[in-house]
Symmetry: C2
Subunit: 329 residues, 2 copies
Amino acid sequence: MNISEFAEIAGVSVSAVSRYFNNGYLADDKRALIEAALEKTGYMPSYSARTVRSKVTKLVGVILPKLSSESISRVTEGIGEVLGEEGFELLLVNTANDYNREISSLELFRQNRVDGVILLASVFTDLHRSLLSKMRVPTVIVGQQFKGFNCVCHNDFGAAYSMTKLMLDKGAKHPAFIGVNPDDIAAGRDRRLGFEKAVTEAGLSVDPKLCAIAKFSMDSGYDKAKRMFSGRKRPDCLFCATDSIASGAMLYCRENGITIPDDLMVGAVGDSRMGRVLYVPLSSVHLHYKTAGREGANMLLSAMKSGSDVHRVMQLEYDIIERESTNRV
Amino acid sequence: MNISEFAEIAGVSVSAVSRYFNNGYLADDKRALIEAALEKTGYMPSYSARTVRSKVTKLVGVILPKLSSESISRVTEGIGEVLGEEGFELLLVNTANDYNREISSLELFRQNRVDGVILLASVFTDLHRSLLSKMRVPTVIVGQQFKGFNCVCHNDFGAAYSMTKLMLDKGAKHPAFIGVNPDDIAAGRDRRLGFEKAVTEAGLSVDPKLCAIAKFSMDSGYDKAKRMFSGRKRPDCLFCATDSIASGAMLYCRENGITIPDDLMVGAVGDSRMGRVLYVPLSSVHLHYKTAGREGANMLLSAMKSGSDVHRVMQLEYDIIERESTNRV
DNA sequence: CTGAAAGCGCTAACAA
DNA sequence: TTGTTAGCGCTTTCAG
């Protein structure tokens, strides 16, 4: 059924029906007639037809590198909450860390499919920059800072610095580091820099043999720990860029008689649920993922409302969560 | 820019452009002209305008109770993979376990917003039934079996039965149970029934004092364990409906000197990443979440293609993963 | 294989 | 406030 058929059944004009579903510039009796007919017929206006004229999709595109990650799903929940309150739905694209898919979804959203875009990505390239600046709808990047665009990000540098400092303040002298791809500015580079700053500030130096780059996974953390701990140099504290990496490393420690925190303190970033139940509860830096999602959504909403091109950057702070893995006297 | 402007620039007819983006019933020279103009202008056809005529949205609605759950995000990843290959995007609604939101998204999808719907829900009511049968597009339910509709589900009964039996076979005589809401047929009722069957089959009886209903969370598992283990009766094995609940219960055990598996064996369902790194690695039943998502998507695809109303039910089997928490000699 | 032209269902400008 | 009507950008007959 379409709007004219329905209008006829309801006994009102087409525009009355349209107004009912939009601004509501409408007399009460007509409103009642329409509601009655609605009950009977179950008529629903077509979104796409509406969009053709009004150019409003009430859809926001969300591009993310994976779904089954605690941090990312929390961000997405935050986004959905705020946007849902404003009547927006999420068009979700999971790129599975595939660069091409990331690019092609950006392309996809250049069509008139969505009213705005939120992008969670780890590595930004020139192609990103060029596509993002060609974007016809407001766009917000969450979790990274990318010059010239709206961003909501965490203080990754500070998080890594504080966690490393915490361990060094407890007397560790041989700090080790397992991070991620430094092309990932937030989780890779900034956390590395935070670690390094804490180390040098403590009058120590960063030992390259005690530094490794892992993937975002437990297994990778396990591998890197294995390689690192098989060497001559034995670290007495370990900073990991993510909880998953830390949990893998700790698994290796357990299997090989390295006692935490006595032989080795371990600290990470992310404060995942997993960290709480590890065989040695993991000290970690809590990042406000859900809040980041909410704020990203808010930023997008105001950009969509105002249509303004001024870009904003919001950085969220962190909380240190101390648990047993750094509990050395 | 619209199709006629673009057609003019390209020097071809409007229908040629339309055909280019659709079936491709087109001569090579016109094709080349269009491609050249495409390079120059960056023209993209409007999805919504297309949808108004063709009734095809290339969108699938996915309704889920939460995002930050390992099982659910895996299912969603599976769905996205398969549907993405066929050029569909996901319109995601996170109901946050809010019944009204679940109902209203079903309503939403009765409009012509999507070509199909995949529903992950825990509790099904008569209202669900009535809305689902009024659905104008194919619908698939994943994770639950709901009579009269397309379903992809797990063998929850078998999973719980096997895990409980595993523990009883190792000599446990006082089985305890922490489950979830029995209105949730899959995770609540069926896992309970599986547990009960294993117990009675072993010639034992189910002690109501050793049975509890928890929420889907670690904290809730902790609480229930606390209450249960403060009583007179001491269980010697514990089956939990989910890994999260088990991890909470185990946390309580650790704090209270209950040794796993010597004092208490623990088994659960879900095989989450967390279970592997718990202070005592958790025996759990692996359910094929991602596969469930993939199969759900496949089922939806064929329903959308065929337009047939015949409904199908697919049940996926499980794997027992034995770890230390049940490793009693 | 092609182009002209008639809609798809709706919104918004306009005249009343 | 209301109803009429001209499009929104595209697909899809239909006649060539």
